[in-house]
């Protein structure tokens, strides 16, 4: 049987010589087993249950026939004291990475040269675990082929956020794989802004150990580009994981987040908001597994769509047997600014424990006429009033960001984005 063109792509990528030359054993092992996962599972097809609403083509096509333009007009978080690491066209720009207390920062390409590394116990591990029960072959392909990424080993409470600022212009196809390991009691905030390429396949693997805490804030902007991101998180007891993504650019974006609450009393929040027009297609696919008792998880998503844009939300809470006293919450809402756009939502709950609280809700609505009239009656012009109400709609998801300075920066950024829309 002739193999499909897309499996050729994955094979070709996995066999790329540069991935194996001058590389240490740990990364070779990780790439090899990931390549096997890709081969065994095959790449996503439209008829796969979780690719029903988003065509995988954008991420499978061999060639990229468009350019991306970086959005430099809004420099978000520039006032927030942070350690900044730049990526340009999917490649780490810094020759020397910052040295900060409580966290070691290394590049994947440097670590890959060593035969042994702590990352060997993390790289590809949450991703491999996250392949069951839903296959995520493009994440495995990322593990097998990524040569760029950061490895953060967090051992203390890191005061200032670490910010990755990515810019890219042209038709770069980039594969990025970051790893974060938060040691017991340690704490870090990771910010990601911009986009890594005209097409990007980004994996972020996070292990949060006992009492640790990981905060992630991401802003996806820039002109047309296709981004596929996966966050794989595994939480130890009494740990905290919070991720918020604001998407204000891009063409096809699929953000997957796969979290496993493995330790007692851990808490996870995944939230996001997006605004888009026209060919904007934005997909959040979330899978939260409660594998221990007394854990809490929240999913809060808001999508503002206009002029034919499409929003997708596939959110699942799986409560395993024995995960008693689980508190699971999920809300996905869309604000449809005209009747040409679509919001496709698939909330799922699967519960095998009998003493749990899980709730989910999903709504689609237009601008509230009563509120619009109220604002206009005060002299606010219609377009500005719609912007304010859009901000109001999204604000609830930004409230999930714990750091109020960063939350304020997000609101200000959003205000600026809306003004030029």
């Amino acid at each position: 049987m002739a193999s499909s063109p897309s499996s050729d792509i994955s094979k070709k990528l996995c066999l790329d010589e540069s991935l194996w030359a001058n590389c240490g054993q740990w990364i070779k092992n990780a790439r090899l087993s990931a390549a096997k996962r890709v081969e065994g599972q095959g790449l996503p097809k439209r008829r796969d249950e979780y690719w029903n609403y988003t065509r995988p083509d954008a991420f499978l096509k061999e060639k990229i026939d468009f350019d991306v333009v970086s959005n430099k007009s809004f420099d978000i978080f520039s006032n927030n004291l942070s350690t900044v690491i730049d990526y340009e066209d999917g490649v780490l720009k810094e020759k020397k990475l910052p040295v900060i207390p409580g966290c070691s920062i290394e590049s994947l390409q440097d670590a890959a040269k060593l035969d042994e590394h702590w990352a060997g116990a993390v790289y590809g591990v949450p991703e491999a675990a996250g392949q069951d029960p839903v296959k995520r072959s493009l994440a495995a392909l990322n593990t097998a082929t990524a040569s760029q990424g950061l490895l953060l080993l967090v051992s203390g409470k890191v005061k200032n956020p670490i910010k990755i600022s990515a810019v890219s212009n042209g038709s770069i196809d980039s594969t990025i794989h970051h790893i974060v390991k938060v040691k017991p009691g340690a704490e870090v905030t990771l910010i990601e802004t911009g986009h890594y390429g005209a097409r990007a396949n980004v994996v972020l693997e996070v292990e949060v150990e006992k009492d640790g805490s990981f905060h992630h804030i991401r802003v996806q902007d820039g002109q047309q580009h296709n981004s596929l991101t996966h966050i794989f998180g595994r939480l130890g007891s009494n740990s905290t994981f919070k991720s918020f993504t604001l998407s204000v650019g891009g063409t096809v974006t699929r953000n997957e987040c796969i979290l496993e609450l493995l330790g007692d009393s851990s808490s996870a929040t995944v939230a996001g908001a997006c605004i888009g027009d026209d060919k904007f297609h934005h997909d959040d696919t979330i899978f939260v597994t409660h594998g221990a008792p007394n854990c809490e998880s929240r999913q809060v998503f808001k999508k503002v769509l206009r002029d034919g844009a499409v929003g997708v939300f596939q959110g699942k809470i799986l409560v395993k047997e024995g995960a008693q006293k689980t508190d699971g919450y999920q809300i996905s809402q869309s604000l449809l600014l005209d009747d040409t756009c679509q919001f496709l939502a698939k909330p799922e709950l699967e519960i095998y424990a009998d003493d749990v609280v899980c709730s989910h809700g999903s709504t689609s609505g237009a601008i509230d006429e009563e509120a619009l009239f109220y604002l206009r009656s005060r002299g606010v012009p219609k377009t500005k009033a719609i912007d304010l109400l859009t901000l109001s709609f999204i604000a609830e998801s930004i409230e999930e960001v714990e750091n109020s300075e960063l939350a304020d920066a997000l609101l200000m950024y959003l205000t600026a984005v809306l003004e030029v829309r």
């Binding site: 206009r376 009656s377 005060r378 002299g379 009033a385 109001s392 409230e399």
Partner: protein, 251 residues
């Protein structure tokens, strides 16, 4: 200031006539009150004047200082000097009260082609006016009307009025949901804005608000028409005898 002539209004969605020929002439510097039983069309009149959707004007006109109100968008009416204090002020989560006030003030100045107020002047003005209305600084930071008590919401309406400095203020059942103290506070706020160039139209069910905001002229509205106009004593008459007598009188 405001001239309403033979105003006929019906609901857009259904064939229901609400205003059946309202005539009102409000002079600058005067406080007019409209009283009337439930369903007489008082609130509809305030909505039609401020440009709410859902109403169809089938006849008549409304002019503010000679400008055709009915031809303007709600924001243009506001910039022309019209202000409606809502019976039920709307909650807007996620938008700070201050941000909202600032955009309202700036938008109106922009629409009128006036220079924008500086951030410093604006802040100073808001703080002073908020203090007069016993509005805590915290209320200015909170999202618009979210978690405000009934009294706080109404004081917030008056704060907006004080900041926007409209020429023509319509108060739609501002007394509803207020206890005596809150009503006094709101009334003081309104009275502080009384001015020989500013006109008020106070819509209410009850006389008690008019004890605090003393009207020059009182109109009684019933079944979509002004059925009687008079001095402040008319309000007292209604308080004493209800609307029934008046309705019979004009029937």
């Amino acid at each position: 200031m405001l001239e309403i002539k033979n105003l006929h209004v019906q609901l857009e969605e259904e064939d229901k006539k609400i205003l059946k020929g309202v005539n009102l002439s409000l002079e600058a510097g005067k406080v007019h009150a409209i009283m009337g039983p439930n369903g007489s069309g008082k609130s509809t009149l305030s909505y039609v004047l401020s440009g709410k959707k859902g109403y169809e004007v089938t006849a008549g006109s409304a002019h503010l200082e000679g400008n055709d109100l009915l031809a303007m968008a709600p924001e243009e009416r506001a910039a022309a000097g019209l202000f409606l204090a809502f019976q039920y002020p709307v909650e807007i989560p996620g938008v700070g009260n201050m941000t909202f006030l600032r955009s309202a003030v700036n938008s109106q100045q922009k629409l009128r082609g006036e220079p924008e107020m500086t951030a410093g002047d604006f802040l100073k003005a808001v703080r002073a006016k908020a203090q007069n209305l016993k509005i805590e600084p915290d209320m200015l930071k909170r999202p618009v009307n979210v978690g405000f008590s009934g009294g706080e919401k109404k004081r917030n309406e008056i704060l907006q009025m004080a900041m926007l400095q409209p020429k023509m203020c319509i108060l739609d059942e501002t007394d509803s949901g207020l206890d005596v103290d809150a009503m006094k506070l709101v009334s003081q706020g309104v009275n502080a804005l009384r001015d020989k160039k500013r006109t008020f139209l106070v819509i209410t069910h009850y006389q008690r608000l008019l004890d605090h905001i003393k009207p020059d002229i009182v109109h009684i509205m019933a079944a979509g028409k002004i059925i009687k106009s008079g001095g402040p004593e008319l309000a007292l008459e209604v308080e004493k005898n209800g609307y029934a007598d008046l309705l019979e009188e004009t029937a």
